[in-house]
């Protein structure tokens, strides 16, 4: 049975959803603004007989996830931007070894230590692989507490289904905001598909190894990469998710994800009162980016307005999707600032007029 409606902040929501989704192994190192998540799980894992370890670093934590995953457990780690940078090596190994695992990034302002306010400046890092090598990780971008819960479940399922690390990309605001949530029922661990590839000791079978190094002279690494790519193509074809609002007969459509989309949504409501017909296109998977859907939409609207909490990252995917089908405008704010709906409304008005006072036109 799903839970009653509960009032929880975003970090606790992810923690509770993870436990209900069958995660019994959490490893992480403290960093603001996501400490409430490990703090929650340090107690909650005791209730459910799971494991919580505060690793000595993010590097250690992601490698503990790697270990728990290869042993067959549903495992996760969480951090914020500087810590996620440290995890990239481990994520690359997990991708190469085809190990599932869930990584939460509650992004904060960067580069370097930056600050702890919300930001969305890790889009490139998250969607382009982040670490070394030719690999991809599905990236889910929640825009509220209910979606944090639902996408946490999805993250574990996708990770197991494709044997691949999956990232949930939130920001400081998503981690702190409190909203009513209804949690899906607890997964019965016995119902999860058996992980035939996991290591439990070779008693009764041939010994096997899990690795990412392919030194063979017969092109083993070459074929391994083609195999991975075939998987990424499958994910691209099957796992795109997005949401649209008021896009029918819109004069302009705002493209935004996560917190930025929530703020843009209110801006659009406010503009309706002025007689401006603006719509919203919200990617939920950032990789795979819902390119065909946005392409199709752009055939019917004259203007696309991209709003980001970074100085211009997702806009590149929008350009790839839209091309010259519509005029593209961009407005981005450096990480570490929470914008108001009024600021976004000003951008939309400016893009409609094409006067360049807020944001700028992207020359395709």
């Amino acid at each position: 049975m799903p839970s009653e409606k509960m009032l929880m902040n975003g970090s606790h929501t992810v923690g509770e959803a993870a436990v209900r989704a069958g995660c019994r192994y959490y490893f992480g190192y403290p960093i603001t603004p996501q400490n409430e998540l490990p703090e929650y799980l340090s107690a909650r894992m005791q209730d459910v007989g799971g494991t919580f370890i505060q690793g000595e670093s993010e590097i250690a934590s992601i490698n503990m996830v790697l270990g728990a995953s290869v042993a067959g457990g549903r495992a996760m780690t969480s951090s914020s931007s500087p810590g996620i940078s440290l995890k990239q090596e481990g994520i690359s190994y997990m991708a190469g070894m085809e190990l599932p695992g869930v990584i939460i990034n509650m992004m904060r302002g960067g580069p370097g230590l930056g600050n702890i306010a919300p930001s969305a400046a890790d889009y490139f890092q998250a969607t382009r692989g982040g670490g070394h090598g030719d690999y991809r990780t599905p990236v889910l971008a929640p825009a509220g507490c209910q979606e944090l819960a639902d996408l946490t479940f999805l993250a574990f399922d996708l990770a197991d289904k494709y044997r691949n690390p999956v990232m949930l990309l939130g920001d400081g605001l998503m981690g702190q905001v409190m909203e009513p949530v209804v949690f899906p029922d607890f997964i019965d661990l016995k119902d999860l598909p058996r992980k035939e590839w996991a290591l439990h000791g070779c008693e009764g079978r041939e010994a096997r190894a899990v690795y990412s190094m392919f030194l063979g002279q017969q092109g083993e690494l070459y074929y391994h990469n083609l195999h991975l790519q075939e998987k990424y193509d499958r994910i691209t074809a099957e796992e795109q998710r997005w949401e649209t609002k008021r896009t029918d007969d819109a004069e302009i459509v705002v493209v935004a994800y996560g917190t930025a989309a929530r703020i843009a949504d209110t801006a659009i409501e406010e503009l309706e009162a002025e007689g401006i017909r603006a719509g919203l296109f919200r990617p939920i998977t950032l990789w795979p980016f819902p390119l065909p859907a946005l392409r199709k939409l752009s055939q019917h609207v004259a203007k696309i307005a991209v709003f980001e909490l970074s100085l211009g990252q997702m806009v590149e995917d929008v350009v790839l999707s839209v091309g010259e089908r519509a005029e593209i405008y961009f407005h981005g704010l450096p990480g570490g600032i929470i914008p108001t709906p009024a600021q976004v409304a000003a951008f939309i008005r400016s893009a409609l007029k094409g006067d360049g006072t807020v944001g700028r036109r992207i020359d395709v």
Partner: protein
């Protein structure tokens, strides 16, 4: 209907708890809510604030360009948030701590001597509960019963504080009913 309320004050004045009480009360009443606190290093400086949005429709942005209601538990909070309040909005002042008044004339001003009232209700520490009582009573966001429910949900597991807090909330409601 959509109402945005910002609570602000020193850390330790129970500012975030006021936001929880309103949020829980409104959720039990069946409204949509979002609650967004200031956090982290922002709080080292000794100030705290949170914004609660209530609506009967789905709420888009958890941050508001302009709050409808500001609850200023100390003077710096009044200075910081007064300019942002919407025309026709309201500000609640914790007059136990400061006597300065807003300069704006297009907003309603409600003065609440929280500490004196809390003492009358039998506790030195219930100033925030008196205030949330006064806020809910004056704005009609929650009834007395809903406010008390909200407090109990917000403090689940700390039942020993229920009785005292309820008295303080009732005091806040009575203060408004007396037409102060």
């Amino acid at each position: 209907m959509i109402i945005r309320t910002t609570f602000a004050g020193f850390g330790g004045q129970g500012v975030l708890l006021m936001g929880y009480v309103l949020s829980h009360g409104a959720m039990h009443k069946g409204l949509n809510i979002t609650y967004f606190p200031s956090y982290g290093a922002e709080m080292r400086g000794g100030t705290a604030n949170c914004t609660v949005t209530l609506s009967d429709k789905k709420i888009a942005s958890p941050v508001a360009s302009n709050p409808d209601i500001v609850v200023a538990m100390n003077y710096p909070s009044l200075v910081k948030f007064e300019p942002a309040i919407v025309e026709g909005g309201a500000v609640f002042l914790n007059t136990s701590l400061f006597s300065e008044k807003p300069s704006r004339t297009d907003i309603e001003i409600v003065s609440v001597p929280t500490l004196e009232l809390a003492k009358e209700a039998g506790s030195d520490r219930g100033g925030n509960m008196v205030m949330i009582g006064a806020v809910c009573a004056r704005t009609g966001m929650l009834s007395l019963e809903e406010t008390v429910k909200g407090m109990q949900a917000a403090l689940k597991g700390k039942e020993k504080f229920f009785e005292q807090n309820q008295k303080a909330i009732e005091k806040g409601f009575a203060f408004i009913a007396d037409g102060k």
